[in-house]
Subunit: 414 residues, 2 copies
């Protein structure tokens, strides 16, 4: 390809598509505007000031007073791996609460970092009862217990109240992947006594993927800092290595990352400044709305999608008692081509809805209504479009019932 | 802190500072504008189209026809670690060409991932001769040879022409960290027969940190794909695991990342869309200028900084024959407080110049002139400001000599 051809790719100009899948969703315009600010040197006082602000802004989102609340520079998955590789020592037994694809991801990461992985499982569409978790902790005596909060693959939200207390009573540490819930469903890291929680921007916070907020309890930080090993070339007299086994990643070494985010300002990676500006604005937007109001808005959106789907005659997937408010699964009716429906939705309505993974591939659609898209009009538009496409595909669906039910549910949700 | 206090942090509003340190530098405005576009679903045809364009756009920047040219989602350091952990198997002998802080970083990462690390070293301010590298390969029979291209800690650029041929003749693989040179100093991955090269956006490409372009030769891709292990929950009949040892990271598993960037579109992380838009625009800006013109502009900028520093009476650090064009080190004169000078530069002129690491901390300043800042007027402004501050700090410096020499060198550079 010649350089001239390359230039012909032209300006970035994505279609104005409504992203009603399991994420990413549309970015809040304030977030994109904040990201258009110019860069700063990474140790300039204004930059370190912004870093301090980010730490403060994410504490309420995680429901914590943890000093160590900061960003991992990568997608949500980077936050997960950084947490596990820094918290888990090779050979440690780790109990994974596995109720979907992202539970499997936790196992996968843990196997690669040399943990002994055990699990307590639920079928896709269900969650794991607390007493089953307690029994598994009793049985396996894990050093770390890891779970997903809301698993978008199954649309289930694992109840976490009480988990941390059991884990700490057993002398262990807890990790929660809250990528799909942060900013949309309440997280109470302190009240739940969870040690490490990570999130992402691209779901309920309506930012771009690429930065992973994290919070670390003091007791977990102590364990991690005991594994500190400052790299050659930047060693300093005021930063002493720990005595624990060295963390098997440099990039994901939370001990060094915490030293970077502390007043020590130990040089590590070059902070992803633009993503930090975006993460900061995501949090400001969420806190300005008020977290309780925001969670209620997501609950209305979820209730509306569920009611709309059922009124159209679609069976909603999974356990009603533990449904995430921001992503809803619904069975693809027999005889309907799920991918054809998604394509029609995209081509005629510029609306994206989600497909599914693994055992649910081809069996359910997933509709997300989160962040900037957990809006009455966006849910209504999506339900109307879905109905139109379903009727065109030959599914007998009472005209107008879905959107009417969705609007009614939005208005009457508690 | 109350939520109200949090809101009082206010809008993002960094000072308009000229970043003439070793990076990050100021972003090109076109890059920030491109990043303000809304998000897309990660498998929407427009998104995968943009991914294909990014692959094409980065091939000329790396000087390669490699199919596997894509982005790692993280800072430049993420690209380094992903390359090494995917290329190196535990127990492999790896030869590091070590001539500065970022050579030490390569060693550090390699130690953590279980390599047997050997090295061939140069003093800070020098590079390693090719025959010394050849002798070390002969002596250690490494499986992988890793080096930095331009090490900003010492401002030296390691010559790479001929390296790949020696490495391949020995049956080994080569890795080059080109974070600080990509888009500013020529990289010829194919002509140099280098197997894996990674970069970053925040230096000569004038983008934000947070995305790491990478290119992988077919022979390296074959080695990496032989270690493929698709995670549970997304296994597919058309993607078969390899027989090699599993890569010890999920996030940095280039086999899965390549499957994500191929027509297989295997789900892995959620691509950092906004950073991808930025990376795409960085490359378009560079290719529109023309790479040869761009490299010449960086050479003029480097010559101007060197001439300006010398005319002010500052000794320039390191070997003239192997100096990077985009970052220049100069000795802090005896009796001058280097940090006070940097503070004055920032406070009175809104110009950032760099400090140094390790053995050079407190001994040199580093001035970068790269990407959007490798401009005649920005170099001139910086030289004038530095002279003013140096005189105020008591350094006897002929008035006007630095800026005059810098301008003259810019105009006469070959």
């Amino acid at each position: 390809m010649s350089e001239l051809d390359v230039l012909l790719f032209g300006e970035i100009d994505p279609p104005q598509r409504l992203l009603m899948g399991p994420g990413p969703v549309n970015a809040h315009p304030r977030v994109l505007r904040a990201m258009s600010a110019d860069l700063l040197g990474q140790f300039d006082p204004e930059m370190t000031g912004y870093m301090e602000q980010v730490m403060a802004l994410y504490r309420p989102l995680f429901g914590t007073e943890n000093r160590w609340t900061f960003l991992v520079n990568g997608t949500a998955r980077a936050g997960i791996e950084a947490s596990l590789i820094s918290l888990v020592e090779p050979g440690d037994t780790v109990l994974v609460i596995d109720f979907g694809r992202f539970g499997l991801l936790l196992k996968e990461i843990l196997q690669r970092i040399g943990a002994r992985v055990v699990s307590v499982e639920a079928a896709w569409g269900e969650v794991v009862p607390l007493d089953a978790i307690a029994a598994a902790i009793e049985r396996y005596a894990p050093k770390v217990v890891a779970t997903v909060h809301g698993d978008t693959s199954t649309t289930m939200a694992q109840p976490l109240d009480g988990l941390g207390a059991i884990v700490r009573a057993a002398g262990a540490f807890s990790y929660v992947d809250a990528t799909a819930t942060i900013g949309g469903i309440a997280i109470a890291a302190d009240r739940w006594s969870i040690d490490v929680v990570t999130g992402g921007l691209q779901k309920c916070l309506s930012g771009p993927s690429g930065s992973a907020p994290i919070t670390v309890s003091d007791r977990a930080a102590e364990r991690i800092l005991a594994r500190r090993h400052v790299e050659g070339g930047i060693r300093r007299a005021d930063i002493v290595d720990g005595t624990g086994p060295r963390i098997a990643s440099n990039y994901f070494d939370l001990a060094m990352v915490m030293d970077y985010w502390s007043e020590k300002r130990l040089n590590h990676h070059t902070e992803a400044t633009t993503m930090l500006y975006g993460a900061r604005e995501c949090a400001r937007v969420a806190l300005a709305e008020g977290l309780d109001a925001r969670f209620a808005r997501h609950a209305r959106a979820g209730a509306a999608v569920v009611a709309g789907a059922r009124a159209m005659g679609l069976a909603v997937f999974g356990d009603d008692r533990h449904r995430m408010t921001n992503v809803t699964g619904m069975n693809i009716p027999g005889g309907i081509d799920g991918e054809a429906v998604r394509r029609w939705m995209r081509e005629d309505f510029e609306i994206e809805i989600g497909t599914a993974f693994g055992p649910l591939a081809g069996r359910i659609w997933r509709i997300g209504a989160m962040g900037y898209n957990a809006m009455k009009h966006k849910v209504a538009i999506t339900m109307s479009a879905l109905e139109t496409v379903l009727r065109a595909e030959g599914f007998a669906c009472p005209p107008g019932a879905g959107v009417d039910a969705a609007l009614a549910a939005w208005d009457t949700a508690p």
